[in-house]
Amino acid sequence: MGDGTAISSEQVAHVARLARIELTPDEIEHYTGHLGRVLEHAGELEDLDLADVPPLAHPYPLSNVFRDDVAGSPVDRDEVLSQAPAASGGQFEVPPVLGEEA
């Protein structure tokens, strides 16, 4: 912020890793431009004095939202699993999480 380039290609590559999106070097350049344009615009907030304004996270605050502690009818497990990319034994199936040796 404030130094003319709002985000670098290294930062975009880092953010892509955090967001778990595989990108090619060309795509990293593309998104550096895209995000940079939006973040440059966001620089206009820098001039605002908001020290005395608290943040607002939710437009219509409700608190202590409870329901009666009674069993509902869950969605059908087989129906859910029928839509999964891979399932077996009543569970979702994924590639190794920790590597084969684990």
């Binding site: 990108l23 907030l45 608290p54 943040p55 437009p59 219509y60 409700l62 839509q83 990319p85 190794p96």
Partner: protein, 510 residues
């Protein structure tokens, strides 16, 4: 075009068969949706079965409900059990939800017949439907132009006469802006008025479901059906649902209407009108709002004054920062909500050597360009070292917006502004991201505040295209909002029908 009111009335009285009504609309879709592409899926078989069940109920002397036999189109980010719900994304192509959204249940329980699922910008991120993975929807008023977005398919479906009612979702204007560009009515209710259970989440502190219709009365009818507390959505407001339709006939005499200065340029309905609140400090007038649009807003204000309302100008200074705040907060929330698309439980999977590689390759292949950009933007805005500067600051602007609206509503019952800064634009005309985002300038403030707002057609702008006027109201103020919208509808110059409707109707003269 037949209204939802007329269809339901006829079907309930046994004067028309729901099945015949349905075939009329399916015929129009068959004839014109190849051009418009409002639908991702037309659920003809399922609709025929549902319509037959409505007819059977009528035959047995049972009342199917206030939407008896009314075909309805659902935006394709509303979960429909056993019917593909794609969000117009490769990520969810072919996915069939295991449950219905609460609004889908409510509409069908009221007798409505689902006719199909409508196109949108991928995961509702966009203002033109150009970001759909399945190709854009075209505006029925001019096929060379966008219908707006992200609920462009729902808006186009109603404008083209494919369904009298449609539902969409509005996170930054995604109901109101396409309604404006397509010359129909679109309502974003108060945040929490309508359950979001079963709406695929984009930005959870903004998302709200609402109706599209050709007129205010039909929109109010649908709003009444979908409103109300739902224990399945913890943000749903436990408030009674008013009789929205009763608000339509009330006069505007004595109502105080404020025209938002920052969104309507200089000139008319200025301090000279002497309305309340005109002494407020004038904010900066935003650039980029076309004169043909602001002129219609001033005419709408004049019409309300003629009908007995007290009209003045009001400053809501924070609206000038709304766009920037929104485009930090909404991507931040999206980056969290869309983390669930990791190739594990539903939708696309691209195999990898381990889970993390599967995640990365799946998300690379499944998400389109705009969705990737917003996820990364949001991830960045939330990341260590930038959180306070971006996300934190944007949340403070959000509070500023809330306060400025509260101040405005101390002096006015409803506010007026344009819905969209411009009429429907041509495909590709707003390819630059900031240029596209500016489509939402006038609609975003209501998403930041959570207040209700709606778009009503009011005349034409450049090149004869529809212009929508936005009516804004305080939280749970749908009734005065609808009263004013109905008055505007009565005063509005007639809108040319979409050229599509001049093509021979397959059901006429057959």
């Amino acid at each position: 075009m037949t209204s939802a009111h007329a269809i339901a009335s006829d079907v309930r009285a046994g004067a028309r068969r729901a099945s015949d009504v349905l075939e009329d609309f399916l015929g129009r879709i068959e004839m014109h949706d190849g051009d418009v592409h409002a639908f991702n899926t037309v659920t003809a078989d399922q609709a025929r079965a549902a319509a037959a069940a409505i007819d059977a109920a009528v035959d047995e002397g049972r009342d199917p409900g206030p939407l008896a036999g009314v075909p309805v189109a659902f935006k394709d980010n509303l979960c429909t059990r056993g019917v593909a719900t794609t969000c117009s994304s490769r990520m969810l192509e072919g996915w069939q939800p295991p449950y219905d959204a609460t609004v889908v249940q409510a509409m069908t329980a009221a007798g409505a017949v689902m006719i199909g699922k409508t196109n949108l910008d991928e995961f509702a991120m966009g203002s033109s439907t150009e970001h759909s993975a399945f190709g854009p929807t075209r505006n029925p008023h001019d096929l060379a132009r966008v219908p707006g977005g992200s609920s462009g398919g729902s808006a186009a479906a109603v404008a083209a006469g494919f369904a009298p009612l449609a539902l969409g979702s509005d996170t930054g204007g995604s109901i109101r802006q396409p309604a404006s560009l397509c010359g129909i009515v679109g309502i974003k209710p108060t945040y929490g008025r309508v359950s979001r259970y079963g709406l695929v989440a984009f930005a959870s502190s903004f998302d709200q479901i609402g109706p599209f219709a050709a007129d205010v009365a039909d929109a109010a009818l649908a709003l009444g059906v979908i409103s109300g507390h739902d224990p399945a959505d913890s943000t749903s407001i436990p408030a009674a649902v008013p009789d929205f339709e009763a608000a339509l006939g009330r006069g505007v005499e004595g109502l105080r209407v404020g025209v938002i200065s920052e969104l309507t340029g200089s000139g008319r309905n200025g301090a000279a009108t002497g309305g309340p609140g005109t002494a407020g400090a004038a904010g900066e007038v935003l650039d980029g709002i076309d004169a043909d649009v602001t002129e219609r807003v001033h005419e709408a204000a004049d019409a309300l004054a003629d009908a007995g309302a007290t009209v003045g100008r009001v400053s809501v200074p924070a609206v000038t920062y709304g766009l920037t705040a929104y485009y930090l907060i909404a991507p931040a929330e999206a980056s969290s909500n869309l983390a669930r698309y990791d190739g594990t439980r539903y939708g696309l999977r691209v195999d990898g050597a381990d889970v993390e590689e599967m995640n990365r390759l799946t998300r690379r292949a499944g998400f389109g360009d705009e969705v990737k950009a917003r996820i990364m933007l949001g991830t960045f805005a939330l990341s260590a070292g930038y959180y306070d500067a971006y996300y934190g600051k944007a949340q403070r602007v959000r509070m500023l917006t809330r306060r400025d609206f509260d101040a405005a509503y101390a002096d006015f019952d409803v506010l007026l502004s344009p819905t969209s800064p411009c009429v429907a634009f041509r495909f590709g005309e707003r390819a630059d991201p900031m240029t596209m985002y500016r489509c939402d300038t006038c609609t975003i403030p209501s998403n930041l505040s959570g207040d209700p707002a709606m778009s009503v057609p009011f005349g034409i702008g450049a090149e004869g295209l529809p212009v929508g006027v936005q009516v804004l109201a305080p939280a749970l103020g749908e009734e005065p909002m609808l009263t004013v919208a109905a008055a505007l509808e009565r005063a509005a110059p007639p809108l040319p029908a979409p050229p599509l409707s001049t093509v021979a109707d397959p059901t006429e003269g057959a």
